[in-house]
């Protein structure tokens, strides 16, 4: 029997990928507001990535098994960068932020509080999210907070593929028959949360003043809503009524039971063996 191979810990835990930046250039209230923005973005990408991964092995066709696994990997990668940026800003730890919170402390938008459900539902939800995310990333790509602008520039190139993929699926499902019926059911049940990505952020005025965010969330919600209506109409799909509100998109009394279940899954290793690396 030879010696047991040395267990290598993952390097990324010891050395964050994100270049160091000077947190002192921001005054404390602006830094706090920026933290709030980063937390919502990181949680969105993180939670969506785990929902995507629920299709690994059971997607309706092999190509989508591969696609959704890739989408999941992309989103978790984006979340990791955002958590690392947030950790630098707050002087905390990215893994603790990602895995060390209670289910109630996540700030993902309500759109991502729904379970995976069926394929049409996952497509509709992802399309609603991706189109909203594109608007949000557009408002950050020339951010005055340069480290954020830099990673947004990288992330949005990858998200373009996501958006394209979901766009194709929306068109496929919208063609008719049972797929179209399921898509309409999914859109109707997701509709109240369709603008939830743009829930107002605490002190977002400070972010706009500092040039970190290009427009208020409510303005981004308006832009997104017009785009949604346009695409749905062009596909001959019903635009559900009334226009959804984005006001209470992230502050919920309690996250859904579905999210609690997902949280239980993705925090399991961290809870069983805090500080574990793999």
């Amino acid at each position: 029997m030879t010696a047991t191979p040395e267990r290598r810990s993952t390097r990324q835990l010891a050395r964050p990928d994100l270049p160091r930046f000077d947190t002192e250039e921001l005054d404390p209230p602006t830094r706090e507001a920026l933290s709030g923005l980063l937390l919502t973005m990181a949680d969105d990408e993180f939670v969506l990535g785990f929902w995507d991964s629920e299709w690994t092995g059971i997607a309706p066709m092999l190509e989508e098994d591969v696609a959704f696994s890739s989408l999941a990997q992309d989103e978790i990668g984006h979340a990791r960068l955002l958590f690392e940026m947030l950790a630098q800003l707050r002087g905390s730890d990215a893994d603790d932020l990602a895995f060390g919170r209670t289910a109630d402390e996540y700030r993902h938008c309500r759109l991502l509080d729904h379970p995976r459900t069926d394929w049409a539902f996952s497509v509709a939800r992802r399309w609603l999210y991706d189109t909203a995310d594109a608007v949000r990333l557009g408002a950050l790509r020339r951010s005055g907070f340069v480290p954020l602008a830099q990673i947004v520039e990288k992330i949005r190139r990858e998200e373009t593929y996501h958006l394209m993929h979901m766009d194709v699926w929306m068109r496929r499902l919208a063609q008719g028959g049972e797929p179209r019926e399921r898509l309409e059911v999914a859109l109707a049940s997701l509709w109240p949360d369709a603008l939830s990505v743009f829930a107002p952020l605490p002190e977002e005025d400070l972010l706009i003043e500092a040039g970190i965010l290009a427009a208020p969330m409510s303005g981004l919600a308006d832009r997104h809503y017009e785009q949604l209506r346009g695409v749905l109409s062009s596909l001959g799909l019903t635009v559900p009524e009334p226009r959804p509100s984005s006001q209470d998109g992230r502050d919920r009394a309690k996250p859904s039971e579905s999210f609690r279940w997902l949280w239980g899954e993705f925090t399991m290793v961290h809870r069983l063996e805090p500080g574990a690396t793999w």
């Binding site: 390097r11 994100l18 992309d74 990668g77 593929y161 394209m164």
Partner: protein, 173 residues
């Protein structure tokens, strides 16, 4: 491959350290496509040489790419003899794009059965990102995309109608 292979023997002068480092980095390959080096892939952004130290900046092809950690350790291992303090860091100062792949990189990709990325991808519009990918086997343009997502984040799956071969394209980003 020797790190000194690019020295011009007629010059006789010692090779500048930075140049030697770039040459050495050509020995470090992409762990997911081992025929292409990190230099030809355009992952190496910058090499900085200071007294007793070497710093290399790497641009990840995709944010969630697990290979970047391997590349970082491989770069540090390869350069270990060049200075007491060798550091490889990941940078986002500019986005890696598929246009960073060198002409030699394109050749290596084709040799390994990969379609090289198209010269598009300004990041502004969606359409140029799904160009016609020439088949790496027969060169035909009668190809179609099967899946924008492949076995790794940076690869898409195509099919060639002329030689009836599936192939992978290095994504245009």
């Amino acid at each position: 491959m020797s790190a000194l292979r690019t020295v011009d023997p007629s010059a006789g002068a010692p090779m500048p350290l930075e140049q030697a480092i770039w040459a050495a980095l050509e020995d470090v390959s992409d762990p997911e496509i081992p025929t292409i080096s990190v230099v030809d892939l355009g992952v190496v952004r910058r090499v900085e040489v200071g007294p007793g130290r070497v710093r290399v900046e790497l641009l990840p092809t995709f944010v969630g790419c697990p290979a970047i950690d391997l590349m970082r350790s491989a770069v540090e291992e390869r350069l270990a003899g060049f200075a007491p303090d060798v550091e490889a860091v990941v940078s986002f100062a500019e986005p890696w794009t598929s246009q960073r792949i060198t002409p030699q990189g394109h050749m290596r990709l084709r040799e390994s059965g990969f379609g090289p990325p198209a010269p598009a991808g300004d990041g502004e519009s969606l359409l140029p990102m799904l160009p016609v990918a020439p088949c790496p086997y027969c060169g035909s343009l009668d190809t179609s995309i099967q899946n924008a997502f492949g076995p790794t984040l940076c690869r898409a799956i195509y099919h060639c109608a002329a030689c009836r071969q599936p192939f992978e394209q290095f994504k245009t980003v």
